[in-house]
Amino acid sequence: MLKVEGLSSFYGHIEALRAVDLRVRAGDITTILGSNGAGKTTLLRTISGLVPARYGRILYFGKDITNLRPERMVKMGISHVPEGRQIFGDMTVRENLELGAYLRYRRDPSSAIKKDMDFVFKLFPILKERESQVAGTLSGGEQQMLAIGRALMSKPRLLLLDEPSNGLAPKVIRDIFACLQQLHQEGITILLVEQDVQIALNIADYGYILRAGKIVLEGTAEELSQNQTIKEIYLGE
């Protein structure tokens, strides 16, 4: 579905990604793991067009989408849940979700948008309760749910998630990851960036380990969780 070939991107002179190769199969949960500063966020941002790629290309269903503007990506069904949630704090929950459907305003009838909003409310019932509350007053977990719900409103085929576990309580993380699994069953392909290796490998089908801008290891989730190096470095066993 998504294929990344030899992708490099730079912040000024600093090379943040070095010839990254990556493949996301349709219907899978693929995860990119790595510690702080490994380039995980940069990789996602390059895929969704927020950071320009210097070398390499990104193929989506065989079509070259390298360096297209972000709104084109959203139109083609790639939806990005940015790091740190980035919800619109002074708007209500409902308005946030409506903004998620921003590009569908003219294309889809309002009944379809309403249906998707009901789907989001079913997935995260707490958002229904908070519907007309200002989003900035939500708790961290609720904000993360809102960010995911907002991304779902654009009816994506590929969902890019940037550290959904960031700064949340373990129980909330479990809830959110359960919802991700549910989305997976609905047929949405997910590319998940995580620091928490264990919880990510629990739900993922395939994983990549990123270190200093390079892919150092890849494999199915089982292979990776059995891997001795990973156990030592990331899982501390």
């Binding site: 709104e71 980035q86 002074d90 998620g100 921003y102 590009l103 305003y105």
Partner: protein
């Protein structure tokens, strides 16, 4: 299809509902329409020429609304809107003086010129925050120098004289009351248009990009294009206001459109309330009437010489007065006059707190 739905909606709306939803604008409209009829009885005793000043309030309201869309809603600073006013004023006056184009057309052309220039300099919108402020400041200074030094066209510091009065096809607007209605009808339409704009999908996109450009981009909002659009729209408003200004004063020179004006326009927006369409009127009103009220106060107490002194020294005092007012408002009523006061009455909330406060400023 869309049209049919619109007609149905209008037919189904009860007048009572419509009034209730649009109470503010209706009251404002009635006030504005009847104002010239009764202002005379107030003007005399308090020693302020209301009608004359109200024309200026209308003009500044137009610019302030545009700047508020840019600054209050989209979060982009501009210190160059005084320059856009100047460009509009000069474009309209020159077309009327040199090419003898009727004034109602030159005003439209002035808007067009302002839009064109805003599009030419639109790459500066890539800059953010202070850098954008600096770039627009540079634009204001350059425009001032160009207007002053292009003497073959603008007659430099001497200025343009004998600019024709406002006109509609066939009629020249000669009286002050006529000018008042001419300006305020335009201003009111612009207010309504802008209000509908910010309540539309585009308005929401602007608020989104103000809050977080990354998030707005991931929603599929083309942030740079929207910034350009709103910049051009506010430049059009400023050009329009500048043209109106020139035609009611019949004299302009580059000095009027210096940086000072841009700063006063910013004061109006902040004073009236960021992200508040109606606040723009409040801001413009305060800025236009404050000096006159200060001037009139000694008169009320029978001290005519102090009034005289004040109006002679006004140009020196002006920056100081507005500086103080701005500081006081920023400290005590950070959400602006309109929001501060309306929250006070509606929610019994102290007007002295900022409900919009959050981590990142403009």
């Amino acid at each position: 299809m869309k049209f049919k739905r619109l007609v149905e909606r209008i037919a189904l709306t009860r007048p009572g509902d419509f009034l209730r939803r649009n109470l503010g604008p209706t009251v404002l409209l009635i006030f504005l329409l009847t104002f010239p009829l009764w202002e005379g009885s107030v003007s005399g005793p308090v020693h302020i020429k209301f009608l004359e000043r109200m024309r200026l309030v209308g003009i500044y309201t137009i610019v302030a609304v545009g700047l508020n869309l840019l600054l209050g809603y989209a979060g982009q600073v501009s210190l160059g809107h005084g320059a856009f006013m100047g460009i509009g004023a000069y474009a309209s006056s020159l077309l009327a003086l040199r090419a003898h184009v009727p004034v109602y057309l030159t005003i439209l052309m002035a808007m067009l010129v302002a839009v064109l220039i805003s599009l030419i300099i639109s790459p500066i919108l890539r800059l953010r925050g202070h850098y954008l402020a600096m770039a627009t400041l540079g634009f204001a200074i350059i425009s001032f120098v160009v207007l002053r030094e292009m003497t073959w066209l603008t007659k430099g510091n001497e200025g343009l004289m004998g600019i024709p009065k406002l006109s509609l096809p066939g009629v020249e607007v000669r009286t002050m009351g006529g000018e008042y209605y001419f300006i305020w009808i335009i201003a009111f339409l612009i207010l309504i248009f802008s209000r509908n704009l910010v309540n539309s999908r585009l308005g929401r996109a602007l608020k989104a990009l103000h809050h977080s450009e990354v998030a707005a981009e991931t929603m599929g909002i083309n942030t740079s294009w929207y910034k350009i659009k709103i910049f051009a729209l506010s430049a059009a408003y400023a050009g329009l206001a500048g043209a109106l200004f020139a035609h009611i004063h019949s004299f302009i020179n580059p000095g009027i459109f210096q940086l000072n004006l841009s700063i006063i326009l910013l004061v109006m927006v902040v004073l009236g309330g960021m992200a508040s369409i109606w606040g723009s009127i409040a801001g413009a009103t305060v800025v236009v009437f404050l000096p006159k009220v200060l001037e009139a106060i000694p008169y009320w107490f029978g001290n005519k010489s102090l009034t005289q002194w004040f109006s002679n020294n006004y140009s020196n005092l002006e920056p100081m007065i507005f500086g103080i007012v701005l500081i006081l408002v920023m400290i005590f009523m950070p959400s602006g006059l309109t929001r501060g006061l309306s929250d006070f009455f509606r929610y019994r909330r102290s007007p002295f707190v900022n409900p919009l406060k959050r981590g990142s400023g403009i």
